[in-house]
């Protein structure tokens, strides 16, 4: 069986052509270098799927404990799963609707299952509906992928009288990498590629950003806002919808 991470190793990221132009443009303006410059940080290690990196961000790298509320984690992961398909050039957002753009099939089973759900709907649905729907199983899906790739090992914990499953990281360095990568880049105002900006946007919408900024302070936050304003409009829409879905959960208290 093959999973996304293995399949994608060494492969260039497939982006929507329009996006590639934007990346090049932003790369040039922000960092004084061409498109290659924006990949600088991401190339240090192989690219992990967006949702896997978000999964890492919202768990403690040593204990595997969840650092974020259950709801925000689920919605954030759903948003990242949609993002993965968007960056693979398969999905796009138009007028708030999530549309299938191409007939290609993603390599890994989780992305495949998500795409099947989306393709299975007769009429296009809005991003908010998909975020709510996918959030119901997003955590289990991404955890399954992380377990299969041996990034985490499921373990059973006990809280009072209840048993629960948590996921222990197999490699702390591997687990802490997204936080270090993003935190350092923001603190040092280094170039950040579009997918990492997407990850940061989800972290911001779910309330995790402050823990990533750690030490960077106001300047790092301003840098984040600056980059976010220039990110792709699909990404912005997706992140704002994520923020709204979480906000609605707070307003309804459920």
């Amino acid at each position: 069986m093959s999973f996304g991470i293995e399949v994608r190793r060494g492969q260039p990221l497939r982006c929507i052509p329009d996006l590639e132009r934007r990346i090049a443009f932003i790369g040039g303006r922000l960092c004084g270098s061409k498109r290659k410059g924006t990949r600088l940080l991401a190339d240090r290690r192989r690219r992990e799927p967006l949702a896997d990196d978000f999964f890492r961000l919202c768990h403690d790298d040593r204990s595997g404990a969840l650092r974020l509320s259950d709801d925000a984690t689920r919605v954030g992961l759903a948003s990242a799963l949609i993002g993965e398909l968007g960056w693979a050039g398969i999905l796009t957002v138009e007028d708030g609707l999530l549309l299938v753009r191409s007939g290609s099939t993603p390599g890994d089973s989780v992305a495949h299952a998500v795409l099947d759900d989306i393709r299975g709907e007769r009429t296009p649905r809005d991003v908010r509906t998909w975020l709510t729907y996918l959030s119901m199983e997003a955590y289990e899906r991404v955890a399954r992928r992380m377990v299969a790739a041996n990034h985490v090992i499921p373990q059973e914990g006990r809280r009072l009288l209840r048993r629960f499953t948590f996921y222990m990281p197999t490699d702390t360095n591997d687990f802490v990498w997204p936080r270090v990568r993003l935190g350092t880049a923001l603190a040092q105002r280094r170039p950040i590629d579009q997918i990492d900006m997407h990850l940061l946007g989800i972290a911001d919408a779910t309330g995790l950003l402050s823990s990533i900024l750690d030490g960077g302070g106001q300047a790092a936050h301003a840098y984040f806002e600056h980059l976010m304003q220039q990110s792709h409009s699909d990404v912005q829409t997706l992140i704002q919808e994520t923020r709204v879905v979480i906000g609605n959960k707070v307003m309804n208290g459920r």
Binding site: S69, D116, G120, R122, Q229, Q236, T237, N248, V250, N252
Partner: protein, 510 residues
């Protein structure tokens, strides 16, 4: 989970049925709404304090009259919830119908009203728990100590975003209603002077002096029913079920309030109920039934009085916190008010600010000797909160009418004129009438002299916050148009810059 690859052939979608599984039923919505209204508190606390303070006899008939008025109001209000989905219902509707400046004025009124309501309830909780502890277990604890215990628990539950589940609310409410009905039947079985009288439910009471005060007392008892519209996105088949839940809630609590308060007046005698309430305040109901019931019923009644107050405290704490949260999300207030807790899904700063405000008020009441918690905190503050909600409902009614007059295209054109124009217009007139009478009789409502400062201070505060809100909106319109456009959008305000038809967004995208 099985994965389908072929497009579905049926008309019903897989994700709709999956999402429906997670949604609220009519029953859960009714339970949540009635829990906020806190029936036992209204009957044993609100009605008796109403008699004691206002001295107006017709409180039972005022409950019936208000249920009818609110029913008419709900027709347009629930219709609006089908067209504008927003969890901060009142001021969102006002912003849509009457513009953002009026909308933000209404938001100020809403935040103040729900804070009045919540903080006032501590004045009921403290004395009732203190009394229960002393009579049952001989534990002497000041009312304010009891109130602060509740305050601490509410503060913690607020930031942890813990609410009572539908089952807990259902059991508590069921028990409250059963006990209230048992007490009422016992009262009716032992009428004063051997005659069952109907003086307090006589419609002619509606035209007697001081009826404004009675109606305002009644409004305070219903506050909470309006949150049905907040759940419109979260309810199964909301189009049909939100109006249904609203009307059912109004009918259930309206009849319950009227029946139980009437029964009290029968047992005491209409001529003596005011005097008896003045003498016994929150104990009136228990004093009336104590000769005829075993002690266990009275203990149970007191316990349910406490739980009812607590459920209402938590519900209004959350409402106030969420209003602040929504305003933070709109960036009308500091944006940190719009932040959620990291570990718990809660409007952290909305909740904390409400908790701090409550502590300050409680500290003032605890330290001043001349103020009675039950009269000056519980009754004054909750009826003032109710008065604020009355203002909101009146303005909302007008806003609904204006909205439907302006928007007649598409789906809206198929809605009956009764729901779009007639009911909101009648509702607006009726609510405005109640509002005017209440303002004229505010001194009766508070039980003070006509020249007392409190008589002007309490209603005047709403005018002040409304003006501040409106002025702030006017400032935002020139200084920060993006934020201004977000007024009334609540959590959806985040989406505005991404609107394709928006000049600012287009500019940003370039």
């Amino acid at each position: 989970m099985p994965v389908t690859t072929a497009p579905p052939t049926g008309g019903y979608s897989k994700i709709d049925s999956a999402l429906d599984q997670n949604k609220l039923t009519v029953l859960t919505v009714i339970l949540m709404v009635i829990a906020a209204a806190a029936p036992f508190t209204v009957i044993a606390g609100g009605a008796t304090a109403g008699w004691a303070v206002t001295g107006v006899l017709g409180i039972p008939v005022a409950y019936v009259a208000m249920a009818v008025v609110l029913g008419v109001f709900s027709v347009g209000y629930t219709e609006m919830s089908r067209h504008i989905v927003n969890s901060g219902a009142f001021y969102a509707y006002v912003a849509q119908g009457l513009g953002r400046i009026t909308g933000l004025g209404a938001a100020g009124v809403a935040v103040l009203a729900y804070n009045f309501m919540q903080i006032g309830l501590y004045g009921g909780f403290g004395p009732v728990l203190s009394g229960l502890l002393e009579t049952q277990w001989n534990i002497k604890l000041e009312w304010w100590a009891c109130a602060f215990i509740a305050w601490a628990v509410i503060g913690i539950l607020g930031v942890l975003s813990i609410e009572f589940s539908g089952i807990v609310l259902g059991v508590l409410l069921g028990a409250e209603v059963i006990i209230a009905l048992i007490f009422s039947v016992v009262e009716l079985a032992h009428p004063a002077g051997g005659n069952v009288t109907f003086d307090t439910v006589n419609p002619s009471q509606l035209f007697s002096a001081g009826i404004g005060a009675a109606l305002a007392t009644a409004v305070a008892g219903f506050v909470g029913f309006e949150s049905t519209a907040v759940y419109s996105e979260e309810t199964r088949n909301a189009k049909r079920n939100i109006p249904r839940a609203t009307y059912l809630s109004l009918i259930i609590i309206g009849l319950l309030y009227a029946f139980c308060s009437w029964a009290m007046s029968v047992a005491a005698g209409p001529d003596k109920i005011v005097g008896l309430s003045t003498e016994n305040s929150s104990e009136t109901m228990f004093v009336l039934v104590s000769p005829h019931l075993a002690e266990i019923w009275l203990i149970l009644g007191h316990v349910l009085f406490v739980t009812s107050l607590f459920a209402a405290l938590l519900a209004f704490h959350n409402t106030a916190a969420r209003y602040t949260f929504a305003l933070g999300r709109e960036r009308v207030l500091f944006s940190f008010f719009g932040a959620t807790g990291r570990r718990f899904r809660a409007p952290v700063w909305g909740s904390l600010s409400q908790t701090i405000l409550a502590a300050l008020v409680l500290a003032v009441f605890a330290s001043s000797k001349g103020l009675d918690p039950f009269i000056h905190l519980f009754f004054w503050w909750t009826v003032t909160g109710g008065f604020g909600v009355l203002i909101l409902m009146t303005v909302t009614s007008v806003a609904v009418l204006v909205y439907f007059l302006r928007n007649r295209e598409g789906e809206i054109a198929e809605v009956s004129p009764w729901r779009r124009f007639i009911a909101p217009a009648i509702g607006a007139v009726l609510l405005a009438a109640v509002l005017v009478v209440t303002i004229l009789e505010f001194e009766t409502l508070l039980g003070v002299k006509p020249d007392d400062l409190a008589r002007y201070l309490f209603p005047g505060l709403f005018l002040v916050v409304a003006l501040i809100g409106a002025a702030w909106a006017a400032v935002l319109r020139t200084v920060n148009p993006t934020t201004y456009r977000g007024i009334g959008q609540g959590v959806n305000a985040a989406l505005l810059p991404a609107q394709p038809d928006d000049a600012t967004a287009a500019h940003r995208a370039r």
